[in-house]
Symmetry: C2
Subunit: 231 residues, 2 copies
């Protein structure tokens, strides 16, 4: 693993995890000591983080950690829905191959198998997130649009735009295991719409799907507002 990657991961973790507080300036030299990497890879990592939208470039040079409010999280989810919605629509309009549909269904079948045990273990949920991610990733790939792929990368990098491990704890609550079933129903709907070339429906479903993820996420936050990144 390159030094740049090392710095990037460490910094991301510090920002999300609260090691660097919102509004705090990211000075290069101190980071050299904290991360045991020279300035060059740190600068590269900072540039990347700025592109990802996690930190802000100061007009006079340097960076500060952004602070995100609840509205930002909602917007991020909305944007994610928009991009994945476009992906789904393009899949429908461009008649993806039967093979592609099968691959999507394969993921969904795996999820279904997970959901057979009504009580999901932590491992199950981790599994779920993994497969879920693959499903969405494949969907984007199948749109055959480099632009959509490109935007999806950006949207995925936004904090909390993706269903995260934070949502993990949530699953313990009895009230929320239904979420998985609803999400799965939406997954099926999206694939069905694509198969039937119903672009508009595919897009709408993908958007709604993002809203569901958001709802779960926000509930978690309201339970424990102590999240480091939140203003």
């Amino acid at each position: 693993m390159s030094q740049t990657t090392k710095a990037l991961i460490a910094l991301r973790e510090m920002i999300i995890g609260g090691g660097i507080k919102p509004g705090e300036r990211l000075v290069e030299l101190p980071l050299v000591e904290r991360l045991n990497v020279s300035r060059t890879p740190i600068r590269a990592a900072l540039a990347t983080l700025a592109e990802e939208g996690l930190i802000d470039r100061l007009p006079s040079g340097g960076y500060v950690s952004r602070k995100f409010n609840e509205q930002d999280i909602k917007d991020a989810a909305d944007a994610r829905g928009m991009v994945e919605g476009m992906a789904a629509r393009l899949c429908a309009e461009r008649s993806v191959s039967q093979d592609a549909i099968c691959q999507l269904n394969k993921h969904l079948n795996q999820i279904e198998r997970l959901l057979e045990n009504r009580r999901l273990s932590s491992d199950d949920i981790e599994q779920y997130l993994l497969i879920n991610d693959r499903f969405h990733q494949d969907l984007v790939q199948m749109s055959s649009s480099f632009v959509v792929e490109h935007l999806h990368e950006r949207v995925r990098a936004l904090p909390f735009a993706s269903p995260s491990v934070f949502a993990l704890a949530e699953a313990e609550y009895d009230q929320s295991w239904k979420i998985f079933f609803i999400a799965q129903e939406q997954h099926r709907g999206i694939v069905e719409a694509i198969e039937q070339r119903e672009g508009m429906r595919a897009e709408a479903l993908a958007r709604e799907h993002a809203r569901l993820a958001l709802k779960t996420l926000l509930r978690v936050f309201h339970n424990r507002t102590s999240s480091a990144q939140l203003a």
Copy 2:
């Protein structure tokens, strides 16, 4: 102007303008000589260009100039419509101030004044592009969503996603000056929809507006296919 900015602009111009051909690898040392800038700012510029999607990062390190086909241009326009559509919708949903509406209308009035002379000079068109850009930029700003702003920056950087000077020549043709009126009508529609809090309509109009820009652009390309960037 910093060396990095200098390198960035020069490289962008070389890629779009054809000085660097699609598929060509961008080796740092030769670029140092061609641009009279050291490796450090060149590396920074290359990283930025990769984020913008103009060049591809090789898994083994280094970059190659991307080649864009007609589908990519269509997708870019589509994506632009999607982002500006979301911006318009948010403006509507979030009840932008009367001041904001006035500012948008101010731009539109300026455009209207330009369009009074049926025959537009090159200067007029340049003016138009400038004002048009400000209108769209303001629209995005007024959505008060940093996510939308963020994505808009990405989408704007995509080649040909924005109405460009290429379209300039096109305006000479008698058949195409109507385009400006249609575009203006859409502009008015978008603002009206925002004013009346019709989110869905605002979004749809913004999307359609992007398709119109695309149509113009594609016509130009079909007339003179010799464009450097096109595969």
